[in-house]
Amino acid sequence: MAQTTGNTFRKVNTVLHRDLGYFFAALILAYSLSGIALNHVDEWNPDFIISKDEIKLEGLYTKNDITPEVVRDISEKVGETGYRLFDFPSSRQVKIYYKNATLMIDLEKGEGLYEKISRRPVFYQVNVLHRNSVNWWKWASDIFAGMLIIITITGLLMLRGPNGFSGRGKWFFGAGFIPPVIALIFQQL
């Protein structure tokens, strides 16, 4: 009887681990990829590709010189045929807005910085999920986190014998605590 109960538990455990693993594989990969991307948020922009081009104007302008005609002329230098708006963040700067780009002109230096923004393929999408940028997604994310716990526990209990948790598994399990504990010790120093 006890043997049968044990076998049933093992079977359910294995099925849970296998099928939850299949179901959440895409999300695990997405979150892992996004995790790496967001870890390095200080070194790159994981969401957008912002291409930057510097331009040199032929002459110097003052704020009063900036008219729609001048803005159109300057815009042509960066390949823009029309603009949406221009505005002055300070007396030395004018910013011109286009559909997917902006051009910031430093009037004192006669230089401009043209920035064009586009979404970084794949990374933008996985980051949207990882950061819960869709309102209701946090609930899906909570369920996903709960399922990851189940996948982990069922994984720990799946095998018996020398390769199971009670065998070599417990040593690997314990070793897994070492890196975070070291990090926490360093943080306290």
Binding site: D42, D47, P89, S90, T102, E115, I117, R131, S133
Partner: protein, 310 residues
């Protein structure tokens, strides 16, 4: 003063005025009077927003302190506060409330020090005045709702157009100072990548004001915001620059309100990286607010804009 609270009442009033105008043949004058009386002006104090409850409460306190004085002049009918990011009430939430309450104009007062992407691009993009491509994308990612109000928004100048900051830094430096000859000033502010020159100019002027009033003749400026990726290193470097020349450094956090992450973790963390900081660095983790001059500036600018609108 007759205050019209519903669209229905207002429409009735409008019809009555037009009928009277039709009877007397004086169409322009009553119409003009009606337009002025029909204005309902609100004031919206907008600040950056923070996860820190202390930070948010400071901004709510600011609203409480100016509320009575602003409403007393009867040109303004209501005042609310909003946060640009992180927490409610958001700008969109407040603008919707103003619309639902029948406001015709909203005077938007950004409680921000000087020009930055937030003041120049993000806020105008949120309220539908601009479509800065980067702001549009970032707001979407950060789940910050954009809302174009039915009421006409009027954005006021920022705090840097007045002498408030100079006076604020001077007052706080004086409170920390014991012997100006031996001391140097360290100003730590949020900063802005595209507008670093403007930020530096602002604090150069503040530091020079402190110098002329106290004799503290050495200063340095450090950043603690996105421009330095929230790293304490800029604070540490700014303090070291002063300590190379003076015995003691007075560190003034030039942030609108207190946020544990900035005043303690980033700025405090930067100071802790400096040798002998216990004896050579004087630091009070306070903020620009509360400041009676800022309160008065808000009252004055609200009054000025409401007068112009009416």
């Amino acid at each position: 003063m007759l205050r019209l609270t519903t669209d229905y009442t207002r429409n009735l009033f409008l019809i009555l005025i037009l009928m009277l105008a039709g009877c007397t043949g004086q169409q322009e004058e009553p119409a003009s009077m009606e337009q002025n009386d029909d204005r309902k002006i609100g004031v919206l104090l907008i600040s950056h927003g923070s996860h820190s409850e202390t930070w948010r409460n400071t901004l709510f306190d600011l609203e409480k302190k100016v509320r009575e004085r602003i409403l007393k002049n009867e040109k303004t009918d209501g005042i609310k506060s909003a946060f640009m990011e992180y927490t409610e009430p958001s700008i969109a939430t407040r603008l919707k409330e103003f619309d639902n309450e029948g406001y015709t104009d909203v005077v938007i007062i950004p409680i921000l020090l000087t020009v930055s992407s937030h003041s120049f691009d993000d806020i105008p993009t949120i309220i539908g005045q601009k479509e800065n491509p980067e702001s549009v994308e970032m707001l979407k990612l950060e789940k910050i709702e954009r809302y174009t109000p039915k009421a006409t928004p009027h954005i006021t100048p920022l705090l840097d157009f007045s002498e408030i900051l100079r006076k604020n830094v001077l007052r706080r430096a004086k409170n920390l100072s014991k012997n100006p000859e031996d001391e140097g000033l360290v100003i730590i502010a949020y900063g802005s990548e595209p507008y670093e020159k403007e930020w530096r100019d602002l604090f150069d002027k503040a530091a020079q004001h402190v110098q002329s009033e106290t004799g503290i003749d050495t200063y340095s400026i450090g950043w603690c915001g996105h421009i330095v990726r929230y790293s304490p290193d800029s604070t540490a470097a700014a303090v070291k620059r002063v300590l190379d020349r003076k015995k003691r450094a007075l560190v003034i956090p030039s942030l609108v309100a207190f946020d544990e992450n900035f005043q303690i973790k980033i700025i405090g963390g930067g100071i802790e990286k400096v040798d002998d900081h216990e004896t050579r660095v004087v630091y009070k983790p306070d903020a620009i607010l509360p400041d009676s001059n800022i309160e008065q500036w808000i009252v004055d600018i609200s009054d000025e804009f409401a007068t112009t609108i009416r």
